[in-house]
């Protein structure tokens, strides 16, 4: 692990342990190392001992804000480490009335992007044993020696296209902000899909969605999915058939995407969580793009005070169906 990360980790640990010990927060949501070195999983820390396991590295992908849905039931005051995307997820929950702002302390962590293990492993060729990072480079340690690669090229897709590496809402910023960064064209894949004929597009999604296992990991990871009972599990009426067939897969993904219209913060957690690599972000981005085109630019989760376009009415809202 890089020196910089250890230094940062100490800074983070110092700040949150103070709050945890003084009782300012009852629980801290952070990350700890998982079973493999390339995994960092959520940490639920309520003691100094728990905090010893805290980690902050290039694999802290899991969006922690969503865990507030459960944790606020059991704890009066919860602290959360938030990257840019976690902070926007928090705004999503705040706007959806799912969390109370005064019961949460947000610790801001500017995030240079999460590394994609699959990319690293592919680059490594032989067995990858670990990495270190230096000056924007990742050094892959393999059985055959070391390979140096450009860090930016090893990022998760969702991170390479991230518009907000710095938290947009926080109580305390723990590290130096990184500032806005240049991103490649975000709607590139959507544009390409839009250019297809409807038959081609249907065939594309039929193929992609045919892999869906309906494990609902996308939903579980998603900050906009906060229903107490998801429509797919409702019995009466039973919206979602249990059968494992394309039309049921379509129903699930399309209805879920519509539920995110104007609400999806484009954090990409759905796609990351998907065990069969369905490009779910493109469904969400299609709706983001449509809403931007119809109602003007709107970035969900950036400003909790800004009214969501589908919940507001303005006289100049487009009404293509009723215009002469």
């Amino acid at each position: 692990m890089a020196e910089r990360n250890l230094e940062q980790l100490e800074k983070i640990r110092e700040a949150v342990s103070q709050d945890l010990l003084s009782g300012r927060i009852e629980l801290l949501l952070g990350w700890e190392k998982g079973h493999y070195w390339w995994q960092s999983r959520p940490l639920f820390a309520s003691s100094e001992g728990d905090l010893a396991r805290l980690t902050w590295d290039s694999f802290c992908a899991v969006n922690l804000s969503r865990y507030l849905l459960d944790e606020l039931k059991d704890h009066q005051k919860v602290g959360v480490l938030v990257k840019g995307c976690d902070s926007r997820a928090f705004n999503r929950l705040l706007q959806d009335n799912m969390v109370q702002r005064d019961r949460v302390i947000l610790y801001g962590l500017p995030c240079p992007g999460i590394l994609d293990y699959n990319l690293l492993a592919a680059e490594a060729g032989s067995k990858l044993k670990g990495i270190t990072e230096e000056n924007g480079q990742v050094i892959l340690k393999t059985e055959d020696g070391e390979i140096e690669v450009n860090r930016d090229e090893m990022l998760m897709v969702k991170c390479s296209e991230c518009l907000y590496p710095d938290p947009v809402v926080y109580d305390q910023m723990l590290l130096e902000p990184l500032g806005q960064k240049e991103v490649p064209e975000r709607f590139k894949a959507v544009n390409e899909l839009e250019a297809l004929s409807s038959e081609e597009r249907f065939a594309y999604w039929e193929k992609e969605l045919s892999r869906c296992l309906r494990c609902y990991a996308c939903r579980q990871a998603c900050p906009y999915c906060s229903c107490r009972e998801c429509f797919v599990e409702q019995e009466n009426p039973r919206w979602q058939g249990r059968a494992y067939q394309p039309s049921e897969n379509f129903l699930f993904h399309l209805v879920r995407a519509y539920h995110g219209a104007g609400r999806c913060i484009d954090c990409g957690e759905c796609q990351r969580a998907c065990p069969v690599n369905i490009p779910l972000q493109e469904l969400n981005r299609k709706l983001i793009k449509d809403i931007n085109e119809l109602y003007g630019d709107y970035e969900a989760g950036v400003d909790a005070e800004k009214e969501p376009p589908l919940l507001t009415y303005r006289p100049d809202d487009p009404a293509a169906f009723s215009e002469k």
Binding site: K73, S226, R228, F231, Q234, N236, L310, L311, K324
Partner: protein, 661 residues
């Protein structure tokens, strides 16, 4: 499974022509739950209704499905019949096999299976219907009229005469509206003020009428019977109780501004009444023009006012009142012809619109009643009238006919001849439209006795040359190019909706057509109703119209309003939304989209891990809910359901159509 009866109407040949009724009856017998099926030539007739009632009793029917016309037409009729037979009216379901089926198909082979599918869906829904009760709602016995023109005045007088209180909100300092700006009225040439002023005074003095002038409606909440309205009464800067209307203030006032009432052709003072017969006769200070408000000194009106009625620090005030019904009568505007560059409007003082020209005839108008050229004060000898400026113009204006221009042009040509006997008028027209009692006769008289030349054709260009305005036109009957050296040109500019009509529509909750005129509920049978219960429209805010039509419509709207106010209670909406609070996650998006403010957050307690947990969920107030269903659409978890249109019922209908082809 509830015992269900199906009744299919032939509607003469309307349905029977494209639906095999016998087949449909046979098919209906096999739907789950159906124990009785029958047909009749006209189910809506008394005999037809009796057939249903008898079958309900004989067969102990618990649900009824009628396959007829649109529920908008006769749902009420059949529900009433079901209720008379002892069934809750909401257990009856209409399958629309006329508008949705027989009328859109020509082929009986296509129409029949579709009718059967629609009936099957209606039965599937009906078996899930539940008995519903409509809440009773009190009626506030007071009406609000928005707009104090002739329409608003007439409606207010009629309502007041029927014995109900009525408030009239007028934006301008005086009531009177457009009619007050007119000199004479066609086709009888009555002096407009002579017939309008008594009505204005009657409205002002009527014990049941409360005039709220210089005010605007800012917010309307609630529903039929109980509209809660917020009215902004703009600061007049004059105490209406102290003011005697002596007029010293505006005589002495040194500041001037363009007069709205005179269409900008002359100036008024900063403190002013819009016209001499204004009601109420209480001046207003135009704070944008007043020297004291602009520069902090002057105060001449305050010094000169005998009863000391000037109140500079008066503030806008808000009136919040409840009304049982609302009539919208906000009138029209005249389109500015400046977009028609070839007519030169705005480039020359002698090119006027119809309403501007009208003011030249008026004794208190900008020229003191002398018809003269505004450029040099000489009486015009040749006047060219151009019709349809902005009307009947698909390319650059409005598609519709403004209706009043043909007649007021004939009137103005006649009046011109009386004022300037040696004047000659030319009228360029597309068609002369004079439908109305005495209208055609009047127009013919103008053409024949008052030397008005009617030229069928359009004007291509108007430009000044020396003392004159050269009018280039084409006489399309003779095909000749016509050039007239005119002294004055009058453009019959289109009547258009008020610029802020869409805003008012949104506040009040009524919709407009693509020209922003307010929509009536039915073009023939509900001409003064709107799609919002309890809100009526009258006058030119609905479409361009003349004074007789406006007055007739105003009285019609008043009757509708009075009919409503005469009831103590109204039946509310039975099909209201309800929240499954166990499922509701409390995001309150439903509250955000509810147009009736019928949804509120409430806190509930829930058992959680042996203890209790407080959380926020949505709750519907059934008295306010109008059953529009917006909340059910926005709710992602389907926790809001609309009674009578529940998710289960709609899915049952969809399944009935899709699963059994």
């Amino acid at each position: 499974m509830p015992r269900t009866g199906v009744f299919i109407c032939h509607c003469g040949t309307n349905i029977a022509g494209t639906v095999d009724i016998e087949k449909a009856v046979e098919a209906s017998r096999n739907f789950p739950g159906v124990v009785h099926a029958d047909d009749y030539r006209y189910l809506c007739s008394e005999m037809g209704q009796d057939l249903i009632k008898k079958a309900i009793e004989d067969n102990k029917l618990e649900r009824v499905v009628v396959g007829t016309c649109s529920p908008r037409m006769h749902e009420g009729t059949f529900r009433k019949a079901a209720a008379e037979a002892g069934l809750n009216p909401y257990l009856l379901e209409v399958a629309n096999i006329r508008e949705h089926c027989s009328w859109v198909h020509k082929d009986i082979e296509e129409g029949t299976p579709k009718a059967i599918a629609l009936l099957r869906a209606a039965v599937a829904k009906a078996v899930l219907n539940e008995s519903l009760d409509a809440p009773e709602l009190e009626v506030e016995k007071r009406a609000l009229v928005i707009g104090g023109g002739i329409a608003g005045i007439q409606a207010a007088i009629d309502i007041a005469e029927a014995g109900y209180e009525v408030d009239v909100v007028e934006r301008e300092p005086s009531i009177g509206g457009r009619m007050a700006q007119l000199e004479k009225t066609f086709p009888t040439l009555d002096c407009s003020a002579c017939i309008l002023t008594p009505k204005m005074v009657e409205a002002a003095q009527h014990p049941n009428i409360n005039l709220i002038t210089y005010s605007e409606v800012e917010e309307v909440k609630g529903f039929v019977g109980q509209f809660d309205v917020k009215i902004r009464q703009k600061a007049r800067s004059v105490d209406p109780v102290k003011c005697t209307g002596c007029g010293v203030c505006y005589e002495k006032c040194p500041a001037k501004a363009s007069s709205e009432f005179e269409m900008g052709l002359s100036k008024r003072k900063a403190i002013y009444v819009p016209f001499p017969q204004a009601v109420p006769n209480v001046p207003v200070i135009d704070r944008d023009a007043c020297l004291y408000f602009r520069k902090g000194r002057c105060q001449i009106c305050e010094k000169e006012c005998p009863p000391q009625a000037i109140v500079y620090d008066q503030k806008d005030e808000f009136i919040e009142r409840r009304y049982g019904t609302i009539i919208v009568a906000t009138g029209f505007d005249q389109m500015s012809p400046s977009q028609y560059g070839e007519y030169g409007y705005g480039q020359h003082p002698d090119i006027l619109t119809g309403l501007e020209f009208e003011r030249l005839f008026n004794a208190s108008g900008p020229t003191g009643g002398k018809v003269v050229r505004l450029s040099d004060g000489k009486p015009p000898k040749k006047v060219v009238f151009v019709q349809c400026v902005g009307s009947r113009d698909k390319a650059r204006g409005m598609n519709y006919c403004s209706k009043i221009c043909c007649m007021y042009t004939a009137k103005q040509a006649v009046l011109l001849k009386e004022k300037v006997p040696d004047a000659k008028s030319y009228v360029f027209y597309i068609d002369v439209r004079t439908a109305g009692k005495g209208y055609e006769e009047f127009q013919r008289r103008a053409a024949e006795e008052y030397d008005v030349a009617y030229l069928r054709g359009q004007v291509g260009k108007i430009f000044p040359e020396g003392d004159h305005l050269v009018v280039h036109g084409v006489d399309s009957l003779s095909g000749k190019i016509i050039e007239i050296k005119a002294d004055m040109v009058v453009l019959a500019a289109a009547s258009i909706a008020r610029a802020d009509a869409p805003d008012l529509g949104r506040i009040v909750g009524i919709n407009s057509d693509s020209y922003h005129f307010f929509n009536e509920a039915h073009p023939k049978l509900k001409p003064v109703e709107t799609h919002t219960a309890g809100i009526f429209i009258a006058g030119a805010c609905q479409a361009p119209k003349d004074i007789p039509d406006t007055v007739a419509q105003a009285s019609a709207a008043a009757v509708k309003a009075v009919g409503l106010l005469s009831k103590d209670f109204l039946k509310g909406e039975a099909c209201t939304a309800e929240v499954n609070q166990a499922e509701c996650s409390g995001c309150m998006y439903c509250e955000a989209v509810c147009p009736y403010s019928a949804i509120n957050p409430v806190e509930i307690e829930e058992r959680y891990h042996g203890g209790t947990l407080k959380r926020t969920v949505a709750e519907v107030n059934p008295a306010l809910c109008q059953g529009c269903g917006s909340c059910t659409v926005i709710c992602r978890s389907g926790s809001v359901n609309l009674k009578g249109f529940s998710n289960e019922q709609i899915l049952a209908e969809v399944d009935a159509i899709c699963l059994q082809r």
